[in-house]
């Protein structure tokens, strides 16, 4: 009598999907996590926030409120009465105009307004700085947002005067005041 051995059945072959199911299930949350990390540290957003993007606007003689201080533009006019240190009238170069901005502050908390930058904005969006070299002979102070430290200054009402130059044809429309610590928010005091 011949006995034939029966070979054991081969183990069932698991398909590719079954073999890799755990790996596939892990990939999805990893992808989501990677994307979240990438967006959480968005350089583009940091750059956007470092520029003046969100203006707080106010018309002339209208108060703008920012961080516990009130600030308003008193006047923005052509400066035609500039004199040098000897009191003599100065002659501007051809093609250049000068402007004077007077800004009033109500800022008992001086820290709220310290470290500002004042610029003149024209209709084309160009910005002009204070104390231009074209007016280096003019007797003028250093315009800032904090009160003169000399005694007797009322922190609820003090003014600063800023001088600018523009090319002929430029039309000033506003004075901008920016603080690096407050960006992207800034003040735009309209003429």
């Amino acid at each position: 009598m011949t006995v034939t051995a029966i070979a054991p059945a081969p183990p069932p072959v698991r398909g590719w999907w079954r073999r890799n199911v755990w790996g596939l299930l892990t990939v999805l949350p990893l992808l989501v996590t990677a994307a979240a990390i990438g967006y959480a540290d968005d350089v583009t957003e940091d750059y956007w926030d470092s520029q003046p993007r969100q203006p707080i606007s106010a018309a002339t003689n209208e108060w703008a409120q920012l961080g516990g201080a009130r600030i308003r533009l008193v006047e923005l006019v052509a400066a035609t009465d500039l004199a040098n240190y000897a009191g003599e009238p100065i002659q501007l170069p051809a093609g250049v105009l000068s402007w004077r901005a007077v800004i009033e502050f109500d800022a008992p908390d001086q820290d709220a307004v310290a470290g500002c930058k004042i610029t003149l904005e024209d209709r084309a969006g160009r910005q002009y700085g204070t104390r231009p070299d074209e007016l280096d002979q003019v007797r003028a102070g250093y315009p800032g947002c904090t009160a003169d430290s000399s005694a007797g200054v009322d922190l609820r009402s003090y003014r600063t005067e800023a001088l600018f130059v523009t090319p002929v044809g430029a039309e000033p429309v506003a004075v901008r005041i920016t603080w690096i610590t407050k960006l992207p928010i800034y003040l735009r005091l309209l003429r």
Partner: protein
């Protein structure tokens, strides 16, 4: 009934397999290193954008425009009555600069020669417009001079100006070629002209 696998073949197979894994890993590393070596590094990929133009033409350097108006050279340069001599040559370049939309300082001023050498604006005397000495207001063109001290045998000079200082990564830098050929030396000491607003 199958013959049993030879016992001494199994360890040999594992060794071969391990060596193969190591070899493939090393190959992957070598390929990666080759790719890194072939691609530009940060200094190259973030180098300044050179904006070229001939003398007299306005060159756009992103935040300002500049044109070379003239060039002088001499062995002696005079400042506030003091004469400064040199073993090389003083090159004085007159430029007209106009800021674009915001006030601009020129923080980088250099001459670049045909041999790839760079000569920064001299600090032996006070520069009227370079080294952030003057703020240029938008739309107001200002002509001024910049002094450089260069070797006597230098040729192929070009003027490079930029607002940024230091590495000037990915910033615009002018590259205006000065007149070719040997420099004509003014026998008299030259003095830097003060900057003036150009109408």
């Amino acid at each position: 009934m199958n013959a049993p696998v030879s016992r001494h073949r199994r360890p040999l197979w594992r060794i071969w397999r391990g060596m193969g894994s190591v070899a493939l890993t090393l190959l992957a590393l070598a390929i990666g290193q080759a790719i890194i070596a072939a691609t530009p590094d940060v200094d190259r990929s973030e180098r300044p954008f050179l904006k070229s133009g001939p003398m007299g033409a306005e060159v756009d350097a992103r935040s300002f425009t500049a044109s070379v108006v003239g060039v002088r050279s001499s062995r002696i340069i005079k400042e506030r009555g003091v004469e400064h001599d040199t073993q090389g040559v003083w090159v004085v370049v007159k430029v007209k600069i106009t800021a674009g939309t915001e006030p601009v300082l020129i923080n980088y001023a250099a001459l670049h020669d045909g041999r790839g050498r760079t000569f920064l604006a001299t600090d032996r005397l006070r520069q009227p417009i370079a080294d952030a000495a003057r703020t240029f207001q938008p739309g107001i063109a200002v002509e001024g001079e910049i002094a450089f001290e260069v070797p006597a045998d230098t040729t192929g000079l070009s003027l490079r100006l930029a607002e940024s200082s230091g590495a000037r990564l990915m910033d615009a830098t002018t590259d205006v070629a000065l007149p070719p050929g040997p420099l004509w030396l003014d026998p008299q000491p030259v003095t830097l002209d003060p900057p003036v607003v150009s109408s």
